[in-house]
């Protein structure tokens, strides 16, 4: 139904898409006399099948929040600071946009790099590049780096995917490490809870959850294994050792057929190549000689193990190299590191490899696939650390060993958008690594240009957390300019970035801040101008984000007429681009980020409305008959993925996937060379082709006076912490023990004389916060765990607890504390506790 016809009705249900977290569940809103009285899951959608999580249910709170920004606002109090009232006054759109454009135009003419950009709107990925089109290389915020910098690139390298998930429909033994999939967070929660529950209860899938805290998942698991933060790799490598050295189980067929485990590797770790044609080589046991990897060979004859001499060069198959690299990763040694007993590591390795039923097949839709119903799934908790790249590789390795990558029951790649997996041919018959699905990598330069130093993290995703340190100490890496302004859209850098005290200093420095927002947060409290965005229930968008098991676009449509004088963020940014004078760049970028087909390309000098853009995008992807009108009539264009889309994507194209990550090593060596040539000291030691444990991890080498670990977590009720401004959510979480204070283990608390309700001073080497103690058995004795829901200080009246504990104040944010390979920031820290009241 056309928009105006729909909203003209007295009583209707409008289909749209949720935006209360980063993902998108299909919803329908019940509207009576123009008022949204209920939001439910869209029962017809194959994704969430009518289900919503509590945040999705609370969308009404967000829509009708009286503290929403209703008109453009201007600050009248020149003083800025935490808790300082900006004394907003409403202004016209014209004044707001012209003031903003004037300031930014001046900056752009002077040096566009003086603008910091913080655009985090995950639903509108097409606008992320606005800063780049402006000419600013900066990203002063965090999305990917706090969760996926070390995750997305490895998925891209292994599956051509952005995310990954175990196969909900077929897995029988699911190990979940530091992730909320199916219980509390991560991919499409409302859909995944159902899939996980079906797997557990209907199919009797066994679930093991590895977490320093008893998360919702751990509570439901058959077994909860508590690790020390930042040591999950050790646990997993202990498993791998057990499998390779003690149980002798691994999927040799899979490695020979589908991976580079057979490629010969020289002593220095580099590939052995045929000097004549530069081809990778494998050892043919039938003929007893090295052959080109694409030579005709019986698969049985490809050597996985052993050591060989080829033209006088000593080499081993990649699999052997992996095995040798892990020769000292015994469960005993790994146990010391991760605090899980060696016996448990061995037992889990055994259960896991038994459950994988290596060698078995399954027929789906008339097609036979290998069947490996055991897999390890992981996310932020597991890899959000220094050496997170190696953590991610280790998690991949333990999956690869049983041959479960992209096969039924195993570990599956999940696409970023409708394109699903990006499978292209690379070198040596391998799939081309796709570490950069969000934007192309920053090209190396000898002096970093962006404050987040993306030029020096060739595999990583913008480590926005490095900005503050570089801005406050520009000489260290040689920045010869200073930022003057900041544009924020759907982002809260003051809250989300680590080492907040430094971030605050940056905010203080800035002469002009503009924020596109709908409810003010810790960051927009510092803005000079606020431009009100439409809420998700009032705006149009086609979205498809990391949806497991489902593909296609969800259609976010306005379920009512906009309540206030707000404008769609895309329209605001287009308008600004025109006023500032870079519309052609902006439109050129949109052609790309909206997947516009050539016939729908935008003219460089015309401002296109969001509706027009959406229409062109729809037609570009679905054809001329399926524009915006089609979506208004039919709703979402989502459907379940077919087995042939879910499984064996690389293999279907005859491409191998890596088990030996020489790509990473090569990138590291290349970077090392460039850095040396530039006379820079830069640690590239983490660019390893095989994940190993490294004792150098700074988290475990902190002054022992900081005797506890600390980390933060999400649960189903919270989105970061922003959802605490929703009264229904706030009401619920203020009754839930895990959200009522800093979780500390009973025995530890007793030893330290801490009781529930005590006010604690929590001190890390990087910052200090206060918190209310909550004594519990649900956390590792060496840790405190801090819910995101107790971390707010914005001026919004809802969600103010007696004591808020903003975890990020405790985190470090510098190069030392950043994963060298991927730029992931360290998300755990070390603290000492003192009772102060």
């Amino acid at each position: 139904m056309k928009q105006n016809e729909m909203v003209a009705q007295k009583d209707y249900w409008a289909k749209s898409a949720c935006k209360m977290c980063i993902h998108t569940c299909a919803i329908r809103a019940h509207v009576v006399d123009g008022v949204v009285v209920k939001i439910e899951g869209d029962p017809d959608n194959p994704g969430n099948r009518g289900k919503l999580c509590p945040k999705g249910q609370s969308g009404i709170n967000r829509l009708y929040d009286p503290h929403r920004v209703k008109t453009p606002l201007k600050r009248t109090n020149p003083e800025k600071g935490v808790g300082v009232d900006p004394m907003w006054v409403p202004i016209s759109w014209e004044e707001a946009l012209s003031t903003t454009a004037e300031k930014l135009k001046a900056i752009r003419e002077d040096d566009p790099r003086k603008l910091l950009v913080s655009i985090n709107d995950f639903h509108r990925i097409h606008i992320w590049g606005w800063g780049a089109a402006f000419g600013s290389p900066h990203y002063f915020s965090t999305v990917g780096q706090y969760c996926g910098a070390a995750y997305h690139p490895t998925n891209g390298i292994l599956d051509g995917a952005f995310a990954a998930i175990n196969d909900y429909d077929h897995c029988k033994y699911w190990i979940q490490i530091g992730a909320g999939d199916g219980f509390s967070a991560h991919l499409h929660l409302a859909s995944s809870i159902k899939r996980m529950a079906d797997a557990r209860v209907n199919r009797g899938m066994k679930l093991v959850v590895v977490e320093p805290r008893m998360s919702a998942g751990a509570a439901k698991a058959d077994e909860w294994i508590a690790t020390r933060p930042g040591t999950d790799r050790a646990f997993v490598l202990g498993m791998v050792y057990t499998m390779l050295y003690e149980l002798n189980v691994y999927d040799a067929w899979f490695m020979r057929k589908h991976t580079n485990g057979i490629h010969l590797i020289q002593k220095d770790g580099n590939m052995l190549r045929n000097p004549e044609n530069n081809k990778a080589m494998v050892w043919d046991t039938a003929t007893g000689q090295a052959r080109d990897s694409d030579a005709e060979m019986d698969i049985q004859d490809m050597a996985l193990e052993g050591s060989y001499q080829v033209n006088g060069v000593e080499c081993r198959p990649a699999f052997q190299v992996i095995k040798d690299s892990l020769a000292d990763h015994t469960p005993e040694r790994m146990s010391e590191i991760c605090s899980v007993s060696a016996a448990t590591i061995r037992r889990i390795a055994k259960e896991y490899s038994d459950a994988a039923s290596i060698g078995s097949d399954i027929t789906l839709d008339g097609k036979e696939y290998p069947y490996r119903p055991a897999a390890v799934n992981y996310y932020r908790g597991a890899i959000g650390h220094v050496d997170g790249g190696l953590d991610a590789l280790a998690m991949k390795l333990v999956n690869l060993i049983v041959g479960n990558i992209d096969v039924p029951g195993g570990h599956l790649g999940v696409g970023l958008n409708h394109q699903q997996l990006i499978i292209e041919e690379g070198q040596d018959g391998m799939m081309k690594p796709q570490p950069h699905l969000l934007h192309p990598p920053g090209a190396f330069i000898t002096k970093p240009d962006s404050f987040q130093m993306i030029e020096w993290y060739p595999i990583g995703i913008d480590p926005g957390h490095l900005c503050a340190a570089n801005i406050m100490d520009p000489d260290h890496f040689g920045y010869d300019y200073q930022p003057e302004a900041l544009i924020i859209e759907h982002s809260n850098p003051m809250w989300n970035l680590s080492q907040t005290p430094k971030v605050k200093e940056v905010f203080k420095k800035l002469k002009f801040i503009v924020a596109i927002d709908i409810v003010l947060n810790e960051s927009s409290d510092w803005a000079d101008i606020i431009l009100p965005d439409l809420s998700y229930l009032e705006s149009d968008l086609l979205i498809c984000i990391e949806s497991p098991m489902v593909t296609g676009y969800f259609y976010r449509r306005p379920v009512i007429k906009p309540l206030y004088d707000s404008r769609d963020a895309t329209d605001i940014l287009s308008d600004l681009a025109e006023r500032i004078g870079f519309l052609p760049n902006w439109n050129g970028l949109l052609n790309h980020t909206c997947f516009l087909a050539p016939e729908y390309h935008l003219e460089p000098d015309k401002v296109y409305s969001n509706l027009e853009l959406t229409d062109r995008m729809a037609k570009s992807i679905y054809g001329p008959d399926q524009g915006l009108e089609w979506f208004q009539e039919h709703g979402h264009a989502t459907r379940l993925l077919r087995p042939d889309e879910l499984y064996m994507s690389a293999a279907q194209k005859g491409l191998r996937i890596p088990i030996y990550f020489n790509f990473i090593k090569e990138v590291g060596e290349d970077l090392d060379k460039k850095m040396k040539a530039a006379g820079r000291e830069w640690d590239t030691s983490s660019y390893l082709p095989v994940p190993i444990w490294r004792d150098s991890h700074p988290l475990h080498n902190v002054d022992p006076e900081y005797d506890m670990y600390a980390f933060a977590f999400k649960e189903a009720q919270s989105n970061f912490s922003e959802s605490t401004t929703m009264p229904w959510i706030e009401e619920v979480i203020s009754c839930q023990p895990i959200h009522l204070g800093v979780m500390i283990n009973g025995k530890t608390a007793k030893a330290k004389g801490i009781k529930t309700g005590d006010v604690l001073k929590i001190e890390s080497p990087f910052g200090v916060v206060e918190g209310l103690a909550r004594v519990t058995e649900e956390v590792h004795p060496e840790c405190i765990a801090i819910s995101n829901t107790i971390s707010r200080w914005s001026r919004h009246p809802v969600g103010k607890r007696k004591i808020n504990t903003h975890f990020n104040q405790l985190l470090p944010a510098d190069v030392k504390w950043t994963d060298g390979m991927t730029g992931h920031l360290e998300t755990a820290t070390r603290v000492k506790l003192t009772v102060i009241a």
Partner: protein
């Protein structure tokens, strides 16, 4: 016909979507929760067990709340629903102390006159709070208004992402609830009180 609910404790992940869905459906103001999900934690680290236990009115067959109600405001319907007639209730709260499950909620005077942001109510609150009265006792109504419209699914079970709340006819041996109770051995809460609840738990 006897409506009832099966709560599958194995499936429930404690997400509280049901708690919020109920508030949203019924326009329940601050502090009014017809249902909620309780944590039940036992043991010492590392041998800890945690269960999530959703609770709501059990629509007891022998409902003490109904028995003690002096006004007859609390009544039982043919289809098994135990409901409160808002216009008859005088707010004596005898039912509150009589419900073994502590599922009844008294709406203090003025409760429906202000919302989460104070006296100035949101458009949603204006519409939905009008369905309530203050000074009376309320509780989960098994979404009677939905049933009356022909939707035999409650708001909480509709949203429950884990499908841990299943609504249906206990009298029909072929209904999903009856089959689940048979096959998984459903148990009624506090059955020793002889209330014969219409909510069964699967553990």
């Amino acid at each position: 016909m006897r409506y009832g609910m099966v709560v599958d404790l194995k499936r429930c992940v404690g997400c509280q979507a049901c708690t919020v869905a109920c508030k949203s459906e019924n326009g329940n103001g601050p502090g009014i929760m017809y249902t909620k999900v309780l944590d039940q934690v036992s043991g010492e680290y590392p041998n800890v067990r945690k269960q999530f236990v959703p609770v709501l009115c059990n629509h007891c067959k022998n409902a003490p709340c109904q028995r003690v109600c002096p006004t007859g405001a609390t009544y039982k319907r043919e289809d098994g629903l135990v409901l409160v007639d808002h216009d008859k209730c005088m707010g004596c709260r005898a039912c509150y102390v009589a419900c073994p499950y502590n599922n009844r909620i008294f709406l203090k005077r003025g409760k429906t006159k202000s919302g989460y942001y104070g006296k100035e109510m949101t458009p949603y609150e204006k519409v939905k709070y009008a369905e309530h009265q203050d000074g009376i006792v309320e509780k989960c109504k098994f979404c009677a208004h939905r049933i009356d419209e022909g939707i035999t699914e409650t708001s909480c079970s509709q949203t429950c992402p884990a499908d841990a709340r299943i609504f249906g006819d206990l009298d029909d041996p072929e209904s999903k609830v009856s089959r689940l109770i048979r096959s998984r051995g459903g148990r009624q809460p506090l059955c020793e009180d002889d209330t014969d609840p219409s909510v069964y738990y699967l553990d």
